[in-house]
């Protein structure tokens, strides 16, 4: 029992719940009935089913999967929060006290690789954030996937995803972390391609998988190299064991690659790890997969872009931060302008990505695409902050961003849901009620698995509409394709879905960093403050980062406002938008989809106040009179080795003013362009004639990065494959094979000749010999037991005689 | 080996110690085996008297008072008779058989405790010893039947061996009960263990089993198909005459009484009785009880008709053996349980009547239950046999299996 109460062991239990849920759901809910595809609205999309029957989860397995999945994540939520609060309650937590426990894992050669769990301040904040966000996403999924035939699979997969994320959070060594990392990669692949009937979906899935895989391989190289040098992968052993001896070693050994260019082993490993993170957190060269990942269900987008995967990349870097900063000969000191290659790389890449993605986000019309790009740019913020040594600020931003970005995605998801609802409504009105009643089964199933009998009629209607509209959709697919995610089709949703509207607004303002009251403001302000401090001391990278981030923040505020206005304000630009809605204020779908929004809104606002700088006027003395709580907590997660110790930027009015200005300015500009006189239907985006159509299309098409990659990588590899196919395979290898075959035929003929006289001769000779020998031997087989026994006895006596003689018993009886 | 009493005296007298021990042992053996040799002579007279009374005769009354000396006269007659040995007989075995037969009975007396203080040998494995030497009797009869090279004799011998070997099984199983209760195989300990309660009262069924199978061992009626005069003239001892026949005869008589004594020793408290610590009274008690059972045995012999061999075998294999096995299992389980719940004394030697009471009640109840079952079974079988007999179908069909 002590196992379940001792905080040293409890971390083991944290990932357990979701993983168990995954296993149980996978094994137990394999019962599905085939139903004609017309019967179901299919998640948020309409895959081209034709009339192919699809497997539909039975009500029982829906109920089971939902309950089991929720149970798993709730269990890990309870366990991890108990651990976290116990940890925070402890005063020297992080300095002298960390919770952890490890056991032997793999024996390689002489030394044993140990696997274990660890809770130090960094994990603690992750463990505070991840389970609650994931729980919200789970609850949300109940409603969002209510009509999806594969709901059980969905819950299984996100349970596995959550389990992997938690594993990554509690692991105490790099390899174990990498395991969780890879499992998350797999889950993201499966979930992005969840609606694999859609070509775009599975293509996006493959894209994400391959892109991240490239990065992961390089990261694995880094891990292997690290292990090769230090002989361990345990974080605390690497970084804190007898204050950084291993770091000294890492810093002093020149790298095997570019060692001559002043690369230390630490820097090389750092670069490798950062490349891994660039892939995982979608930084500049490898960011292309993330916008396409929007093909997955919206909860998945929230999962990947807010709570789990992208933050995992940043988390890994903060985890290994001392390695990047390095020690010994090549040691860096970002606060005094000394940079190692990895830090520089992070600063540049992060800052550039932040702005780059922001610009792209401006021109998108897809609700989720805008959020995707904003995610990329926010991650860029974090990377940049890490690059300039402000890892506490980066962590802070990681947490707040997780909250408000999850909030944004979920509310955008409910917007999409509302739009679809409206769309079905429209179709249903267009064609009356015929065939609307033939879907009792689906309705019943959904009703039962929600256990909400009292809303059955609304729900029934909903299902009916869905089904009907769905059936219609195939008929009318080509005549007009309606995209429920296009903001141009929305507008005026403020009154249709008020809860979603307020949630979206809170999240958006937080993202834009609306001053003083939103979490995003405080975290962004930290980063800017750090950057400004470096810039005032005249360090180039700091200045670069500061400028880029300021502009990016401005754009962020702008497109956030644009999104808000286009979506919620003004008049409904289409009939669908006019009838949008979550199917009634209190049906189970809207409830399960709105509850998480409320929870997350709370965090999106108040999560910021744990990190208010001490000397901020008024608020500082209110919220963190004893110094910023978050700062002091996380700072302890990295042992202050002098050059790593985060600096406490004294309150400086300029960056604050800057962040005030960019936030409010961006918001105001957005309001001016879109809010004051909202877009009418069919009216083009005013941005076009401001930017000029060419630039606008460039941005809209993501700077043609995808086409570039297609040209650079895809086409050549296809060409090479083609070449290999035609020349090498068909020409060379096949001819070789044919030659071998012909040779074999000749040899066969030869052997056949050989057979006739040699083999047959021998083959007949052997039995003949055996026959003769047998004829001679059979005389001994008299069948007379006593003769046999006599032989046995004689032999035994002889053996005994030999033994006696050899043992000298006969020679000299003593 | 200790050397006391007579051995000591001889040793003091200047004999070599080994020889002294040997002589003293020899004397002891003679004394012990003297008792049965003398009793048997009386027993023959007693038996003849009782048989005569049962058959409404007077019995021997001429020689001596009440014909007491009749046996000596017969003995004399047997001794002066001509001793015939068939020419085709196997001489050695033919002559050895009667000796072995008598010795097998006599050897049993070596372990019988006459009084708390007087017994031939207190063997650690007395019961086993007793059974073993009793099995020698089988051998002797076999030998006799075969050696006298006579087909009647051989048939008789076959019957005997079949009968005895079969009936040894229930006997041994029924002897397991006293051993199990007393926790020892020494006859002395077994008798001591019955100070509080006779085993015959605690486990009557095994007493009955032992009595029946002992009766069969002696080859007395209703099991006297060994010397079934009407079928095979006299059985295995047809060729014997003179003193050899007398030995078989004496062995048989003695065996009956020995069985009575063993029954008393195993099940009816041996020499226990009022004032048992006085040797003579103890001996008197033993003899008294023994003669009661001896009388019962004679009674049965003279009143019950002979059974057919197949009936005997069927009764043994299909009734006695299963019953005895079940009996052992039930009683062992009960005793173990009672000991676990501390209602039975761990060691029965010296246990008082009160201590023994609960165990006794439980075992008795179990025995009564089993007895009711087996009696009902036998009754139904008997009815079936009678029905079959009335329908003039061969009885064996109904009885056998």
């Amino acid at each position: 029992m002590q196992f379940f109460t001792d905080p040293n062991f409890q971390p083991w239990l944290i990932p357990l719940g979701p993983l168990l849920a995954f296993i149980i759901i996978t094994l137990a809910t394999n019962r599905a009935k085939l139903a004609p595809s017309g019967d179901m609205v299919y998640g948020g999309f309409r895959p081209p089913y034709g009339n192919m029957p699809v497997p539909v989860a039975t009500p029982w397995s829906r109920f089971l999967s939902i309950s089991v999945g929720l149970g798993g994540i709730i269990m890990s939520l309870l366990v991890s929060w108990s651990v976290v609060f116990r940890a925070i309650g402890d005063h020297d937590f992080g300095t002298s006290v960390v919770f952890g426990n490890s056991t032997d894992w793999l024996a390689n050669g002489t030394q044993m690789l140990r696997v274990g769990v660890l809770v130090d301040p960094l994990n603690a904040v992750m463990l505070f954030m991840v389970p609650i966000v994931v729980l919200c996403i789970f609850i949300y999924s109940i409603g969002y996937m209510a009509n999806d035939p594969r709901q059980s699979r969905f819950f299984a997969l996100i349970s596995l995803f959550a389990g992997a994320m938690l594993t990554l959070c509690v692991s105490d060594n790099l390899l174990f972390l990498f395991v969780g990392w890879e499992v998350m990669g797999l889950c993201s692949y499966l979930l992005i391609g969840f609606w694999f009937e859609k070509e775009s979906a599975y293509k996006a899935a493959i894209k994400a998988f391959t892109t991240t895989r490239v990065a992961d391989v390089i990261m694995l190289l880094g891990i292997v190299y690290l292990y090769h040098i230090t002989g361990t992968l345990n974080f605390r052993e690497i970084m804190y064991a007898n204050n950084g001896a291993l770091l000294e070693v890492l810093g002093n050994t020149p790298a095997i690659l570019f060692g001559s260019f002043g690369f230390s082993a630490a820097s090389l490993i750092g670069v490798f790890l950062i490349i891994g993170t660039i892939g995982k957190s979608a930084q500049f060269p490898l960011h292309v997969w993330l916008p396409d990942a929007m093909q997955g269900p919206t909860p998945v987008s929230a999962m990947i872009h807010a709570a789990a995967m992208v933050s995992a990349g940043i988390y890994a870097i903060i985890r290994m931060y001392p390695v990047f900063v390095g020690a010994g000969a090549f040691a860096a000191d970002p606060h005094h302008g000394l940079f190692t290659q990895p830090l520089m790389l992070m600063a540049l890449v992060g800052a550039f990505t932040a702005l780059f993605a922001a610009t792209m986000a401006v021109a998108q019309n897809d609700v989720k695409a805008v959020l995707a790009y904003s995610t990329i740019s926010q991650l860029g913020f974090m990377m940049a902050a890490l690059g300039i040594g402000a890892y506490v600020a980066a962590t802070f931003h990681l947490i707040t961003h997780a909250f408000f970005k999850a909030l944004l995605f979920l509310s955008s998801g409910s917007v999409i849901h509302a739009m679809e609802h409206g769309e079905h409504h429209v179709h249903e009105h267009g064609h009356g009620h015929d065939g609307g009643g033939g879907h009792g089964t689906a309705a019943a199933s959904t009703v039962h698995e929600h256990g909400a009998q009292d809303h059955s009629e609304t729900h029934d209607a909903h299902a009916g509409h869905d089904a009907h509209g769905h059936g219609e959709e195939h008929a009318a697919h080509d005549e007009h394709a309606f995209d429920p995610q296009d903001m141009m089709n929305m507008g005026g949703l403020r009154n249709k879905i008020p809860v979603t509207f307020y949630a979206f607004m809170i999240g958006g303002f937080s993202l834009a960093g609306f001053p003083l009251i939103t979490a995003g403001f405080w975290s962004k302000d930290e980063i800017l403050a750090d950057a400004w401090l470096g810039a005032t001391e005249g360090f180039g990278p700091h200045a670069f980062v500061f400028v880029m981030l300021a502009v990016a923040a401005f754009l962020t505020a702008f497109y956030t406002m644009r999104q808000l206005c286009l979506t919620f304000f003004g008049e409904a630009r289409t009939e669908e938008a006019a009838h949008a809605g979550l199917g009634g204020p209190n049906n189970i779908i809207s409830q399960t989809m709105q509850l998480p929004l409320i929870i997350l809104s709370f965090f999106a606002i108040f999560a910021g106040f744990v990190g208010v700088p001490k000397d901020f006027p008024i608020l500082g003395s209110i919220f963190s009179s004893g110094g910023s709580f978050f700062f002091h907590l996380v700072e302890r997660s990295v042992v202050p080795l002098g050059n790593i110790a985060p600096q406490h930027p004294a309150f400086n009015i300029f960056p604050v003013l800057v962040s005030f200005a960019v936030a409010l300015g961006g918001l105001y500009l957005g309001w001016v362009m879109y809010g004051r006189k909202p877009l009418k239907a069919g009216e083009p985006d005013p941005l076009i004639d401001i930017l000029g159509s060419s630039l606008h299309t460039t941005l809209k098409n993501r700077y043609y990065m995808d086409d570039l990659y297609t040209m650079l990588f895809v086409k050549p590899s296809q060409a090479i494959a083609n070449f290999i196919n035609v020349f090498i395979d068909k020409g060379l290898i096949d001819s070789i094979l044919h030659g071998i075959a012909r040779l074999a035929v000749w040899i066969g003929d030869f052997i056949k000749v050989l057979n006739l006289w040699l083999i047959d001769g021998v083959g007949d000779g052997i039995p003949r010999g055996i026959y003769r020998a047998g004829g001679w031997l059979r005389r001994t087989q008299s069948g007379r037991i006593q003769q046999y026994l006599l032989a046995v006895l004689i032999v035994a006596v002889l053996i005994g005689l030999v033994l006696a003689v050899t043992s000298g018993a006969l020679a000299a009886p003593r | 080996m200790d050397c006391t009493g007579l051995c000591d005296a001889l040793y003091k007298g200047g004999l070599d110690q080994g020889i002294a021990q040997f002589i003293s042992l020899l004397v002891g053996v003679l004394l012990v085996s003297g008792v049965p040799l003398i009793t048997v002579i009386l027993l023959i007279w007693v038996e003849r008297k009782i048989a005569a009374r049962i058959q409404d005769r007077i019995g021997p009354n001429r020689v001596g008072p009440f014909g007491l000396l009749q046996t000596f006269a017969d003995l004399l007659k047997l001794l002066i008779k001509e001793d015939i040995t068939p020419t085709a007989a196997d001489r050695l075995l033919y002559n050895a058989a009667p000796l072995v037969s008598f010795a097998s009975v006599l050897l049993i007396w070596g372990v019988i405790p006459y009084t708390p203080y007087h017994f031939g040998a207190n063997l650690e494995i007395g019961v086993l010893y007793m059974v073993a030497v009793a099995s020698l009797g089988t051998l002797s009869i076999m030998t006799a039947g075969w050696a006298s090279n006579n087909k009647y004799a051989l048939l008789g011998a076959f019957r005997v061996v079949a009968l005895l070997v079969s009936y040894e099984i229930p006997m041994v199983f029924s002897l397991l009960i006293p051993v199990l209760l007393a926790g020892s195989m020494s006859l002395v300990d077994i008798v001591h263990a019955q100070g509080g309660m006779w085993f015959g009262i605690m486990a009557p069924i095994s007493a009955v089993l032992f009595f029946i199978s002992a009766q069969a061992e002696t080859g007395r009626a209703p099991f006297d198909l060994i010397e079934a005069e009407s079928e095979l003239v006299a059985g295995f001892n047809i060729e014997y005459s003179g003193m050899k026949f007398g030995m078989f005869f004496a062995a048989e008589f003695l065996h009956v009484f020995t069985n009575a004594i063993l029954l008393v020793v195993f099940f009816f408290g041996g020499w226990f009785g009022p004032f048992w610590d006085k040797p003579l009274i103890a001996f008197m008690w033993l003899g008294l009880k023994a003669s009661v059972f001896y009388f019962i045995s004679l009674w049965i012999r003279n009143t019950v008709p002979r059974l057919r061999i197949d009936q005997v075998m069927w009764f043994n294999w299909f009734r006695l053996v299963p019953l005895s096995i079940a009996n052992v299992i039930v009683i062992a389980t009960l005793v173990k349980i009672m000991q676990l719940i501390n209602l039975a004394p761990r060691n029965l030697i010296g246990a008082s009547f009160i201590e023994m009471l609960p165990l006794t009640i439980v075992l008795l109840a179990a025995n009564v239950a089993m007895g009711l079952v087996i009696v009902g079974q036998l009754r139904t079988t008997g009815r079936a046999v009678r029905m079959a007999a009335q329908n003039r179908t061969p009885v064996t069909a109904a009885v056998g299996d």
Binding site: Q781, R784, L790 | -
Partner: protein
Amino acid sequence: MVPLWFYLIVAAALFSMGTFGVLSRRNGVAVLMSVELMLNAVNINLVAFWRYLTPEKINGMAFAAFVFVVAAAEAAVGLAIIISVYRNRHSVIPEEADTLRG
């Protein structure tokens, strides 16, 4: 007590005699009896060794008891076999039961 090797000598003699019987007797029953003799010799050795070398253990007696069991089983089955062989071939001479002669 007499030295250990007395018993060993007697056992060895018994064993050799049994061996001789097994090897040479024409009659199957006699062969089985000789086997019994050999088993007995083994038993004597077991008990003697137990008594002289490890009297504080129980193994000697226990093994002897098991040898009894085995001997009984062997005798029963062997005799049964002999009887059935006799029934089929009207001979108890193992030398004549040589259907397996090569």
